[in-house]
């Protein structure tokens, strides 16, 4: 159900929206001040009541994640809050908008988050390319510090909080939380083995919570509204609460970021917010970043069994299912980052898969065998097919290679590569077969609608 909200985006687009003056005028930092007078348990419960599912893609309940941290801070084992703003999932551009448009919400969220998990230091790991975002965050931190909201005694309360921006250096894998921690520690961004989980041994070997940037920036809003009220904004309450950022890009008329109550449908995102498909009919949509398996426009929900969580939508278009963590899992895909990439029927799905598999090969850290070699093989096979030299053997090799990556890797990058690969194959087998049979002549052999000059 489409319901535009502005709990997170009120200051977007306002010329001085990113300044402390504007943030304070809108009641900023009131929640951080209040949080410092609350107990950790109260804060965790507030977050649990908000039913805020992590906005980074996995959708883990944020309050539950906070509750994994040791209830008391052991001597010599400081807790850390680490914010994942390594936004790099293809199709995803929401965190950037928050850092650039409203950096103080992130800083305030960090103060509350630190208090909730017993940390005194928060690191915001921002991908290096986002220079404006980093500049805005640093400026916000300086402003907040100058006002006494950060430092040894924020708001005069004896609970030190420092927030630092840590710049990445160009590696998608650092969005994986343990790679991010290695990168924060000055190492190669290779994922760590789990266990131990970050809550046991994270940054610098200490108990750590890693939250997505949108998640933490949402915390002031959920505190302002109260957890329960925040949750009820969502049409999927109480399973998942609140409002969040939705993005749409690709072949739509008005791409962008939109804040809506949780429970929006893809149809609303593409047609109502995205202004409809550009240059043709809707072919397919990648719902929440490139790792989430693609959905075809002509797919219908298959849930005849009454016990199926999607039974209510049985026989309807997948585009009409509310976007939720569980509902989209039921569709055989994932909610991911809620930033959809739209392909019109003028785009070639073979080329789209090739583009993404090139991305995964380029970004594999190379630590473990199936991902390092498998991602390279997927790209090679698609190179051959796209060059018009593919065979049916090559096509059948694709899912075998993807299968061999699935589940066999150190981190979720493996599944993040294999799932979309299998998704493309399953949904576009006929198109692949035709492409191979005709050496590509069956396809538009283009991704773009037209040359950029002509647009």
């Amino acid at each position: 159900m489409l319901q535009r909200t502005d709990h997170l985006t009120k200051r977007y687009g306002i010329p001085d929206g990113f300044t402390l003056t504007r943030y304070l005028a809108d009641g900023g930092y009131v929640q951080a001040r209040r949080a410092l007078s609350m107990t950790r348990e109260e804060l965790v419960n507030e977050c649990k009541a908000a039913n805020l599912r992590g906005r980074g893609g996995a959708g883990f309940p944020m309050g539950v994640k906070w509750s994994f941290m040791a209830p008391t801070v052991a001597p010599g084992r400081p807790h850390y809050l680490v914010i994942n703003a390594d936004e790099g999932e293809p199709g995803t551009f929401k965190d950037r908008s928050m850092m650039e448009g409203d950096p103080h919400a992130t800083v305030e969220g960090c103060i509350i988050g630190c208090r909730a998990i017993g940390a005194h230091v928060a690191y915001i790991y921002v991908r290096d390319e986002l220079h404006l975002a980093k500049d805005r965050l640093w400026a916000a931190i300086r402003e907040a510090k100058a006002k006494g909201f950060l430092g040894a005694k924020p708001f005069g309360v004896d609970y030190a909080v420092e927030v630092y921006v840590h710049s990445g250096a160009g590696a998608y894998i650092c969005g994986e939380e343990t790679s991010l921690l290695n990168s924060l520690e000055g190492r190669r961004g290779e994922p760590r083995l789990k266990p131990p989980f970050p809550a046991q041994a994270g940054a610098f070997g200490m108990p750590t919570t890693v939250n997505n940037l949108e998640s933490i920036a949402t915390v002031p809003a959920l505190m302002r509204l109260g957890g329960d009220n925040f949750s009820k904004i969502s049409s999927l309450h109480p399973k998942e609460g609140g409002s969040r950022l939705y993005g749409v890009s690709g072949h739509v008329n008005t791409p962008g970021i939109f804040e809506c109550a949780v429970g929006l449908t893809l149809r609303e995102l593409i047609y109502d917010l995205g202004g409809g498909v550009k240059g043709g009919e809707l072919l397919a949509v990648i719902p929440g970043g490139s790792s989430t398996p693609i959905l075809r426009a002509d797919e219908l929900v298959e849930a005849p069994n009454e016990s199926h969580p999607l039974h209510a939508w049985h026989g309807m278009s997948v585009l009409d299912v509310p976007m939720g963590v569980e509902t989209f899992r039921g569709l055989g895909t994932m909610l991911g980052t809620c930033c959809a990439t739209v392909l019109s029927d003028k785009a070639c799905p073979v080329l789209a898969m090739h583009n993404l598999m090139r991305f995964y090969r380029h970004e594999s850290c190379g630590q473990c065998t199936p991902c390092r070699e498998g991602s390279g093989w997927l790209e090679r096979l698609l190179d051959t097919i796209v060059a018009g030299n593919g065979t049916m053997d090559d096509l059948n090799r694709l899912h075998e290679v993807a299968n061999s990556i699935m589940g066999n890797t150190i981190c979720a990058f493996g599944e993040g590569t294999a799932m979309p690969a299998l998704g493309f194959l399953k949904k576009f087998r006929r198109e692949f077969e035709e492409y191979i049979r005709t050496g590509g002549r069956s396809s538009t052999n283009r991704l773009a609608l037209a040359q950029p000059a002509a647009e």
């Binding site: 551009f93 390319e129 710049s167 520690e185 690709g250 791409p255 789209a352 950029p452």
Partner: protein, 159 residues
């Protein structure tokens, strides 16, 4: 010749180290700082960072080569990064790349003869809603057209 920071940058060191509980965590920031000054991460830069962090040069070089944004070979004065991933590709990124190659007279990964510009392709730069886009040094340039690219590249070559 041993690498040294300019006095202004040297002042940033203490503040960087103060952010972290150990020295090694300053690896990425120091590499950024040194590259900003030197243009690329030479063996001298690696040695300098390793000494500052009290780690091996192997560690620092291993880190520097892991990340796309550290250059371990000399590069141009300006960097053009054209995003090539799906959302941009759906808006003609391939054409942008080809156009840049033609306009600059170099291939991706190469530097113009005058040393002014190095052309790269980038993986998703989180600017999907304003595709196609490119990053030139620190700036994002979005909703590109070929004409817009021409203006940007011309400006670069003049600077």
């Amino acid at each position: 010749m041993a690498f040294q920071l300019t006095p202004e940058r040297e002042q940033e060191l203490a503040e960087i180290f103060a952010r972290y509980p150990n020295k090694m965590a300053a690896c990425l920031p120091l590499l950024h700082l040194a590259q900003e000054q030197h243009g690329w991460v030479s063996d001298e830069v690696v040695t300098w960072v390793a000494e500052k962090l009290d780690v091996s040069t192997a560690h620092v070089f291993g880190v520097a080569t892991f990340y796309s944004l550290y250059h371990t070979h000399p590069v141009g004065k300006h960097h053009v990064w054209v995003c090539r991933t799906l959302s941009c590709a759906l808006h003609g990124a391939d054409d942008i790349v080809k156009h840049c190659e033609k306009r600059l007279g170099i291939h991706v990964g190469e530097t113009t003869a005058d040393g002014a510009v190095t052309l790269h392709t980038a993986e998703c730069l989180a600017s999907c809603g304003t595709a196609p886009m490119m990053q030139i040094d620190r700036e994002y340039h979005e909703n590109l057209t070929l004409a817009k690219v021409d203006v940007l590249l011309d400006r670069l070559r003049k600077s």
